[in-house]
């Protein structure tokens, strides 16, 4: 653990503080003030991402530090979910935003790096961005799954979806993105390494996470009505596998492979 005494570090810490304060204020039933703080945190997160982009002179998605910096810009997902999908959980989003920025602020190496030849591809940004967005939706789906298991539901006057259905809807948004991320990675693998599937540990974990959601969708179709709580277990399992895919593969020496350069 290391505190970053840099402008980048300062921006990350301000974002974390704004998100946590927004969460705290929201829990004290001051939703308007919480919302203002959430927006403030988001603005600082965007500035932080833009600053990094300017600093490294390429789309900042090269390593875990940059990926987690991007994941911190979660606010648009909250707005989309609430306004378009009628899905709540803004407080959880604030917490997710703060949590994903903690490793960026305290653990991952922020040393700027030049893009190695393999990453100089038009597929670099779309592949990583699509995965990041899908991961945010899947994390949000898991939070609703936990609420469903805890037996909680939205307040009637907010006209929001119940947790199980919200989980399903979020997975419906995230699953095509997860599929696209896997396919873009595969096409990129063919261009860069000569094969669309290299049996690399990160590829296999990505396939495993995709399969959990395929399993979720089939299970829900088959038994979902009779065992709705199990649906939620699938959704939580999915996010656990995503965390392994995202973190463990890059950090652990157990899974050294083609994606090792992504370790932050």
């Amino acid at each position: 653990m290391e505190i970053k005494y840099t402008i980048q570090g300062l921006l990350i810490y301000i974002t974390i503080a704004a998100y946590l304060l927004a969460l705290f204020v929201s829990l004290l039933r001051r939703p308007r003030a919480g919302h203002v703080l959430y927006v403030l945190g988001f603005v600082v997160a965007v500035v932080s991402f833009g600053y990094r982009w300017y600093h490294v002179r390429h789309v900042p998605m090269q390593n875990l530090f940059e990926v987690f910096l991007g994941l911190g810009m979660i606010y648009p997902v909250s707005v989309f979910c609430r306004r378009v999908l009628r899905i709540g959980g803004r407080s959880a989003d604030m917490l997710i935003g703060a949590v994903v920025l903690v490793p960026a602020g305290f653990f991952f190496d922020a040393e700027p790096q030049k893009l190695p030849p393999a990453l100089q591809s038009w597929l670099f940004a779309p592949h990583v961005a699509v995965y990041m967005i899908s991961y945010v939706f899947m994390a949000k789906a898991a939070s609703h799954a936990i609420w469903q298991l805890a037996g909680r539901s939205p307040i009637d006057d907010e006209n929001l979806l119940p947790p199980e259905e919200a989980t399903y809807k979020l997975i419906c948004i995230g699953f095509p993105l997860l599929t696209l991320g896997l396919i873009l990675g595969s096409v990129w693998g063919k261009l860069a390494w000569g094969d669309y599937w290299g049996w690399d540990p990160k590829e296999l974990w990505s396939l495993a996470s995709w399969l959990v959601y395929v399993g979720y969708l089939h299970y829900r179709y088959m038994f979902g009505k009779r065992h709705p709580r199990v649906n939620s277990v699938w959704a939580i399992a999915g996010v656990v596998v995503i965390v392994v895919t995202l973190l463990w593969v890059n950090l652990s020496r157990l899974f050294a492979g083609l994606h090792s350069y992504g370790a932050g």
Partner: protein, 384 residues
Amino acid sequence: MQGALWGPAEWRNNMVMSVQRGPKNRLRRAAMWAAMAIIMLLFFLSVYGAFIGPKRAKELFNSTVLGVYWVAFALLLMVGVVLFRRLLRVPALLLVHAGCILILAGAIWGSEAGRSLQKTLLGIDIVPTGQMQIHEGYSDNRVILEDNEIHELPFYIKLKDFRVEYYEPGHLYIQTRQGDTAWELPVEIGAELQLDPGFGAVEILRVFENFRITIDGDNRTAVDEPGTGINAALEVRIKTPDGRVSTRYVFDRSRGHIYPDSPLYMSYERVIRDYVSELQVIRNGRVVAEKDIEVNHPLHFGGYHFYQHSYDAQAAEYTVLMVSPDSGLASVYSGFLVLCIGAFWHFWLKRPPKVAMPQSAQTRSAEPDQEANKWKSNTQSRAY
């Protein structure tokens, strides 16, 4: 799989499998169980494969047993399309499953077993994935496989030139012997850096792409011979605080070398931006294709892709290409496209028909209202 992201909640909630009695439904149920089993088996195999490393994982997933598994997977998907009429009524869902079938079919066709089958049944002899080592100015058609077996392509590849490109500028990295202080100076002739008091200053005098020493009697002269090898170096002048001036050569290759009488460690650091091989394809003595290949930009010719794989790190005089056949690739890429279109269409764009509840959901129970209420009570209870 379920669908319909946008629509009445009741409709969506009831988009679950019809559990009618009868032999056909028993068959559907069995197929669904088989699908769940095959998905979960692949999940566990993927996790296991991640632990054993890419080489062993490739062997595992290409083994005969798993060959049977892949064929069974593809067949089950086809059986699913036939058994579940809904797949035929919902084109997006059909595309998702058809995409998976195409990917599996292409992968099987392009695998080692698939290539053997092509040779036996159709007489198509495809050169498997291997490597070619070609020197500058020479052409070759021999592909060396992992087991050192040599196959010949029906055309030749000529290497006109190979070069390594670097990010500009490189950096002169300076560090104290104790490692407690470090400086970086962007490489430019005439660039000067004042170090901390006690260490003096450094100045970059010359930059060499390929450093060589010529000896003429007792005179030794440093010269640059670009194009004949790789030996990047810097000529650096060091001024100590007491006014002494010395010259030092700092090399890109021999990082970590420390002069015995110097309090400073120096290295010339360059980051590789790209590797470029200028290739020509020669068939019957004529150049039929030409491309400068680099990482992410392979050459495609005659059913093969040629990738920049490795190079001569000492003198940059030869390149190593990876040769990979395209067998089954069209099917796999079509599958990717179809799967993607189907997934976005089904989960993002499809609107449900304007009915309150599908027949399938109503037939699930003799008392559908009671069942629906039970479902609702399972998904809603206390407030957030």
